[in-house]
């Protein structure tokens, strides 16, 4: 640390980047539709992801109606139910969460937080969105093709995914696989941008260890996604060939309805390996941006520096690396060698260490902080609670002996919804309430926001807490209806009705949020440039919302880390990253 200059009063001249470097839009179409501005692309990504997410929300209502009140909606037959499950899972995990965190928040926040004018390859960035949109449209087309979308479950396990009698085996599975491949191609284009921008686009003084944790989270998640998505890509191509050309990558010899099928020699387990080699990192691809964002929300709204910044960075990197060696914990019941199970259980439990470090650091950041119960803060607190909750049941399921009886029960459903459904969604909401003023120059309505939070938070518990219990009773997941079983008491059905009612209420609360988004666009309170009095660069732009190019003539120069809140002796309770040091505050 010899090159550190303490208390240098003279500000360093900013690196000026000529305006000519940027592509400037000349028409309405290039400004709002085929835009190369990362901020517009971010909004396009976010709106597309939220729209398709609404479809998945409606699907979850329909599933819950079937589980809580079987037969009430007569159009839900077993095939439809499986199609709803599949599409709900696939949309939520990939087309909503991944796209929103990386394509939405990544595009908006990386250039702004690093003091860059834009992503390094704006044209490729634009293509990324349009390929993503195409992927979404192909996915939606699945609802309209003959036979409907695939009903193979979001894991698309062969052989059943492409056998006759699985709903959507005609066209649905083809459309699904093509859509996934498009998504991966689009994501790779965007991901290259996010990574290279973090590596090359940082402004003067923005060292890696001065980056806000949001950028660290998105950066690490992008690297992981770039390395993990090829596994899904390879799996998708091979399954597509199995379906279309009759190859046997994954299809074993099968006798179906007394008839020998043309397949032979494929290995279904091979697909599971490929799928989960992608699927497990995917959990952290969603979680790491959430970890990063929530760190910034907590620090800003508790007016306190983040506790253990270095540990937070190391933990993010460690989680990213470890998440590549745990994939087979999704396959304990696939008949694999018990020695492998032991290895993967060990690595799975080791991940709990960096994760726990992060949780402790969030809690210690709150400790004796000046906590403002703003809506973003409420959602951040909601995240900590739900994430710890889901993480603890993860410790149950990570152990082979506990997992074997719980596998394929509603307990698993409750676990992953808590840890990678509710928890990241809490962060997404918190982040939208937090950054909406920067996007629009107006605040979201506070009262509606608090209503939205409390109904969502309490409602999520009302849905998923009982579900753990249902799972412990042994109720299997993926069942269209239970029928008569000796081991499930009739009171379980009452619980199911309760869960369904809670799910409908939580869903309705999201409509309040949507209303708030559009209503505040015009009627929200004007926010000014930095309503939360935050330190990071995106709040220091000369104008709000920031124009194309973000910074006017000069790029900001960074003099300090991102968490200078409540610094003793400072005039204000926050010091922006681009505020030059004065002799009083070394």
């Amino acid at each position: 640390m010899v090159d550190v200059t303490h208390g240098v009063a003279a500000p360093v001249p900013a690196a000026e980047v000529g305006d000519v470097e940027l592509y400037h839009p000349r028409s309405w179409v290039t400004k709002y539709v085929f835009s190369q501005d990362a901020k517009v692309i971010a909004i396009q990504y976010s709106l597309t992801a939220l729209s398709i997410g609404l479809v998945a929300l409606v699907l979850s209502w329909l599933m819950r109606m079937q589980l809580g009140f079987p037969g009430l909606l007569s159009f839900i037959d077993a095939d439809r139910y499986y199609q709803f499950i599949t599409m709900h899972g696939m949309i939520m995990v990939i087309y909503l969460l991944t796209a929103l965190f990386l394509g939405g928040f990544g595009n908006y926040l990386i250039p702004l937080m690093l003091g860059a004018r834009d992503m390094v390859f704006p044209y490729v960035n634009m293509l990324s969105y349009w390929v993503y949109l195409l992927a979404v449209l192909v996915l939606v087309a699945g609802f309209f093709v003959p036979g409907g979308p695939t009903g193979a479950g979001w894991t698309l396990y062969p052989p059943q995914a492409i056998l006759d009698h699985t709903p959507g085996h005609q066209w649905g599975i083809i459309v699904m696989l093509v859509s996934l491949m498009l998504f991966i191609i689009g994501f790779t284009m965007g991901g290259l941008n996010y990574v290279v921008t973090v590596l090359q686009g940082r402004t003067r003084g923005m060292t890696l260890m001065r980056m806000p944790l949001t950028v660290w989270g998105i950066f690490t998640a992008t690297v992981m996604a770039l390395l993990a998505f090829p596994a899904l890509f390879a799996g998708s191509i091979m399954m597509l060939l199995d379906r279309l050309l009759g190859t046997s990558f994954f299809m074993p010899s099968i006798v179906s309805m007394g008839e020998q099928l043309k397949y032979g020699g494929g290995s279904p387990i091979l697909f599971q390996h490929l799928f989960w080699f992608f699927g497990h990192p995917e959990v952290y691809i969603v979680a790491l941006p959430a970890f990063g964002i929530v760190s910034d929300l907590i620090s800003t709204h508790a007016r306190k520096n983040i506790f253990g910044y270095r540990m937070m960075v190391w933990a993010i990197v460690a989680i990213g690396a470890l998440s590549f060696v745990v994939w087979a914990h999704h396959m304990y019941v696939s008949g694999m060698n018990p020695a492998f199970g032991f290895f993967f259980a060990t690595t799975t439990l080791i991940i709990a260490i960096p994760t726990a470090i992060k949780v402790y650091n969030w809690v210690l950041t709150l400790w004796r902080g000046d906590i403002h119960f703003t809506v973003p803060m409420l959602f951040a607190l909601g995240f900590i609670v739900t994430f710890v909750n889901g993480g603890l049941t993860g410790l149950f399921l990570g152990n082979v002996v506990v997992d074997v009886p719980l596998s394929d029960t509603m307990f698993v459903v409750a676990h992953f919804h808590m840890v990678m459904g509710i928890a990241p969604i809490m962060v997404i909401f918190g982040a939208i309430y937090h950054w909406y003023p920067k996007l629009t120059g107006r605040m979201l309505d506070d009262a509606l926001g608090k209503l939205h939070f409390w109904v969502t938070f309490v409602g999520a518990y009302a849905i998923f807490f009982p579900m753990h219990y249902v799972g412990l009773l042994g109720v299997p997941r993926r069942y269209y209806e239970m029928g008569q079983t000796a081991f499930v008491p009739s009171s379980e059905h009452t619980l199911n009705e309760f869960i369904t009612v809670a799910a409908l209420i939580v869903g309705a609360a999201q409509l309040v949020f949507l209303f708030n988004l559009f209503w505040s666009l015009r009627h929200g309170r004007p926010s000014g440039g930095n309503p939360w009095r935050a330190t990071t660069l995106e709040w220091q732009t000369p104008t709000t919302p920031p124009p194309h190019g973000n910074w006017g003539k000069e790029l900001p120069v960074v003099y300090r880390w991102a968490y200078d809140y409540s610094v003793p002796g400072a005039a204000e309770d926050f010091l922006p990253q681009n505020q030059p040091p004065t002799p009083q505050t070394p």
């Binding site: 200059t5 208390g7 290259l192 290279v196 390879a234 690396a321």
Partner: protein, 241 residues
Amino acid sequence: MSAIVIFMALIAAIAFWWLSRQRLTAKPWLEVGVIGDDIGGGRPPTWPKAKIGLSVFLAVAGSLFALLVSAYSMRMAMADWRTLPVPAVLWLNTILLILASIALQTAVVAGRREDFGGVRSTLLVAYVSSLAFLAGQLLAWRQLVASGYFAAENPANAFFYLITAIHGLHVLGGLVALSRTTARVFDEPRTPLPQTIGELRLSVQLCAIYWHFLLLVWLILFSFLMHWANDFVSFCRAALS
């Protein structure tokens, strides 16, 4: 899945090597002022961004090929594996791809000497030999189909077609970039303006890097298709146990 695990370990080693040079042990809360480092310090970055972008892309493509090799070797390890005869034309194709790679490397060297006549001819050699490589791969397919080795017949055939097809598509994608580079070099006068020389050199260099990558991947895939690699793996296994 050992191939992909080894690949990931390699990526992790590179990542940690890079991170270890990024002052990750710094205490940013104690450091106020402008800190000098490569990018944040305002010095021009040592690597052009296109080169970093390409390297990241190679990591992605490398991951895809490592996964294919993993799947292939996993399937091979099962008892009922039946190999298919590898057409002799693959040897010729391998030589063609090596030739393309050498030609592009020569183009890079020529570009460094500002000998743009040399760049032109070597780019053309690389272009033609890459096209010939693709034609040779198609020929190999036709020979296999003619002798009745269809993709749907058994997994060994399916893997052969899949792996060669994905590699071929990557060559095809590279050819798009190579055509653009070649067209640009031919558009410029034989002694280009000083400001365009840098850009031309970079384009040629990026093509060369990509071709070396494709060659490396092909040699690994070829060794698997020729079953040298699994002989090697079983030799290692025997040596370990």
